[in-house]
């Protein structure tokens, strides 16, 4: 395996990208899960799908747009989608979760239109849906590097504000921190990470990488920092084992990564039971 990674650039791209995603997706996921926003990740991933389908369609239809990396259009859609969710959440104050099905179905609807326009499924789109070991380009890798630096720097600098907002939103607002702006920045980060993770885990399974490692971590962590640390650890294990098995068994990595995450989760739950009983 290691030999193969040294030999093939596409494997380097996939593994480096995977390892970066394995850090930033569970990192933001920890905040998403404790704020009970898990479904927002799902809604945004479907909006990203619409953006990617749009990018593929425009790139194929208009030759002057052939340079367009669908990940860019995915990111743009995802960020716009996150703004819509926030807007809808204030429109439907008492039914905040209603924003999620609206955005989610809207994303799929627009995505399907572009997919039909682009003449149906092709392998490229398949790799965006379920991830791919071979489709990650150097350009993708660089873009994901930039996104991860932005995400990690922001979370580091705004950690205490994000923590307070997650733990006690009302208190955060009352204490006079710019809660709205912080939340806004956070939701944009989520949108970016979802678009960036797409290449490896695929649009349909992105939210799993943000929530499953956190679900496992919360069973055993003491405190929030530990929750983040274990989440990242579990995320990394899932991505690496998932990518290796995807490579050898010729499977879509989205599936193997998610199955690996679920196995970790089950192991943690079982281990916790065992410790309690013993």
């Amino acid at each position: 395996m290691i030999e193969a990674i040294g030999q093939y650039e596409f494997l380097q791209n996939a593994f480096l990208t995977g390892m970066i995603i394995g850090v930033i997706a569970p990192l933001l996921g920890a905040f998403i899960v404790v704020r009970r926003l898990s479904l927002i990740a799902d809604a945004l991933s479907h909006v990203t799908l619409a953006g990617i389908a749009a990018g593929l369609y425009f790139g194929q239809t208009f030759t002057f747009l052939a340079w367009l990396n669908p990940m860019y259009s995915g990111m743009v859609f995802s960020v716009i989608g996150s703004l819509f969710i926030e807007r809808l959440r204030t429109v439907y104050k008492h039914y905040q979760e209603l924003a999620i099905p609206i955005i989610l179905s809207g994303g799929i609807g627009i995505g399907v239109i572009f997919i039909s326009l682009a003449d149906g499924f092709n392998t490229d789109l398949f790799s965006y849906l379920f991830g791919s070991v071979s489709a990650v380009s150097r350009e993708d890798l660089w873009l994901i590097c930039i996104v991860s630096v932005v995400v990690m720097a922001t979370v580091y600098l705004l950690y205490k504000e994000l923590f307070l907002l997650s733990f006690d939103e009302e208190h955060a607002k009352a204490s006079g921190i710019p809660a709205k702006s912080i939340h806004f920045i956070f939701i944009i980060l989520v949108a970016l990470v979802i678009a960036a993770s797409m290449r490896i885990v695929g649009v349909l399974l992105v939210s799993a990488l943000m929530t499953l490692p956190v679900a496992a971590s919360m069973r055993m962590a003491k405190g929030f920092k530990q929750t983040i640390a274990y989440s990242v650890l579990f995320g990394e294990i899932a991505v690496i084992t998932g990518l290796i098995s995807a490579f050898y068994l010729d499977l879509a990595p989205g599936g193997t990564i998610v199955v690996a995450s679920i196995l970790i989760l089950l192991l943690v739950i079982a281990a916790k039971k065992f410790v309690k009983a013993g």
Partner: protein, 259 residues
């Protein structure tokens, strides 16, 4: 303006739509006092708190905080607040006592600054002041209601406020622990010099701890020291409340029923 008043409320009235909730309230919280603000449910206590904290806008009258008109007031870290809702937070949240108390420094530290050794000392001192030092690394969800409330008080005092405002803090506290809970509040007031404004519907329980009392039921019916309050007898007290409810009807005779 009395310079020793931490909070000074002048002629404040407030209404939601057509319902008058507060009518011409005059109230001052002297520095170093432990003031119990009592009133039955629906008496406007929570509204008055929201007005003080700036969560609702003062439209009639004026509120001075440390002598500054509230709309110009910036030093919010001088005011600590423990809400009743602290009991209904997400108990599954994976945060240690230390992390929860540290979050009380968020505003004071300002953006992009991380707590240093001075702040770490302050966090430990605040946890010790509420008697929770042996629980520093425990997850907040594993604690009892009373212990959680103590942690929230520690979070409120970690930024060293001059006044601590508590809204029905004993709602989730076991009845057998209520006494020691109020003793801890007394300690904060007497030994640490924190002015306390305690909002509750139950005067009986706090009467031997507070220094001042204010009775609210849309109007402010009594405002004075505990000594003055003790000179009132039961009849006076019920008269205060009864009278208040009576007045309420008078002012709303165009409505069928109030509340």
């Amino acid at each position: 303006m009395n310079p020793s008043s931490v909070i000074e409320i002048k002629n404040v009235s407030y209404r939601y739509d057509r319902d008058n909730v507060l009518e011409n309230i005059q109230l001052s919280v002297p520095k170093g006092a432990f003031l119990g603000l009592v009133g039955p449910n629906g008496s406007g206590k929570s509204t008055l708190l929201k007005l003080i904290l700036g969560l609702l806008k003062v439209k009639e009258g004026e509120i001075l905080l440390f002598g500054t008109p509230q709309k110009n007031f910036k030093n919010w870290d001088r005011i600590g607040f423990v809400s009743q809702k602290a009991n209904s937070f997400n108990t599954g949240f994976p945060a240690t006592v230390y992390e929860v108390v540290a979050s009380g420094l968020t505003k004071k530290l300002g953006l992009f600054r991380l707590p240093g050794s001075k702040e770490k000392q302050a966090i430990k001192a605040a946890v010790a002041a509420v008697g929770m030092e042996q629980f520093l690394t425990r997850n907040i969800g594993e604690l009892s209601g009373g212990q959680q409330q103590r942690v929230f008080i520690a979070r409120a005092i970690v930024s060293k406020p001059d006044i601590l405002i508590l809204d029905e803090p004993t709602v989730g506290v076991d009845s057998k622990n209520v006494e020691s809970f109020y003793e801890m509040l007394s300690y904060l007031n007497k030994k640490m010099g924190i002015t306390l404004l305690l909002v509750t519907h139950d005067i009986g329980i706090i009467s031997d701890k507070v220094t001042h009392v204010a009775c609210l039921n849309k109007y402010l019916h009594f405002h004075g020291s505990m000594k003055q309050f003790e000179t009132l007898n039961e009849d006076d007290l019920s008269a205060l409340y009864g009278h208040g409810i009576h007045l309420l009807d008078h002012h709303h005779d165009h409505q069928e029923a109030d509340i």
